[in-house]
Symmetry: C2
DNA sequence: GCCAATTTTGCAACTTTGTTGCAAATGATA
DNA sequence: TATCATTTGCAACAAAGTTGCAAAATTGGC
């Protein structure tokens, strides 16, 4: 059951289980794709304060439950991390796909980011790859 | 002479040559790396209004003079486009390098983005690749 | 160089987005 | 269930970005 998984995840991250945290995690799981702060706020505004949403997303970031995705329009999008995302250190070296039609952002875990040869003297720590295009559902 | 180049570029983009546009282009040329709106504002605040900077950057975007770079901290960075950037359609398929120490963002034109195989049904239009690490100048 | 038409700028006012401090409410633990 | 620590909501604020409109600057023809 989903509700149980959510509680497990919060416990594992050493976070107390509160209504807002449960609800926000649920929203991410149901959404399936990445969400902006605004999206989360919209879906919870009747219940939780704006500030609570900000703080909850921040906490989830710190605990490695969600990560941000750099998009070309530079709006901050958050997505659930995978199993092996540890606190502080993310394994989100996968490709993010942004659909130009429906706007959905998908994490393509199956495709890993190719290695590249940087010029002399440069050292890479993290590589982000964002692909814009048309997704499976929107293809006519 | 740089001043001449700037005027040429504005003319080519069918923009009237105004003080603020000249000055802002000059700032980008001198900077060499990508700049946030804030950076531009700082360097011009004595002369030009905040709103003018916003509108100028917007105009430059539309005309393909500058493009945005998706960064991991999701702050909007603007950088000069290369020769072959046409109005509306950017050829900025190069790698952007963000130095974690000095913060400078460099466009690595010499390295082109590798092609990747997307899952069935997905179609890529634009690929953005942002590499975070340590740059030549900051390497101890 | 000057004049009229158009474009651009600055100002003011506003909306949206994000932050901080503090008291009240909630959750964890014994 | 009582206590302590954490989390929440509120208020107030700071920063980022937008819009309408009148004044100023730019362009192109004369």
């Amino acid at each position: 059951m989903v509700e149980e998984q959510i509680i497990q995840l919060l416990r594992k991250s050493q976070l107390s289980v509160t209504d807002s945290r449960r609800k926000i995690l649920e929203i991410f799981i149901q959404a399936g794709s990445a969400l902006a702060h605004h999206d989360v706020e919209e879906k919870t505004s009747e219940r939780y304060d704006r500030v609570t949403v900000y703080r909850t997303l921040q906490t989830f970031m710190e605990k490695g439950i969600i990560h941000t995705i750099p998009t070309t329009d530079n709006s901050i999008k958050y997505a659930l991390c995978k199993e092996d995302c540890a606190e502080g250190h993310h394994h989100d070296n996968h490709i993010h796909f942004v659909c130009e039609i429906c706007g959905a952002i998908t994490c393509m875990d199956e495709i890993h980011v190719p290695t590249i040869n940087l010029p002399e003297g440069y050292h890479a720590n993290q590589i982000n790859m964002v692909v814009n295009g048309i997704c499976k559902n929107c293809k006519a």
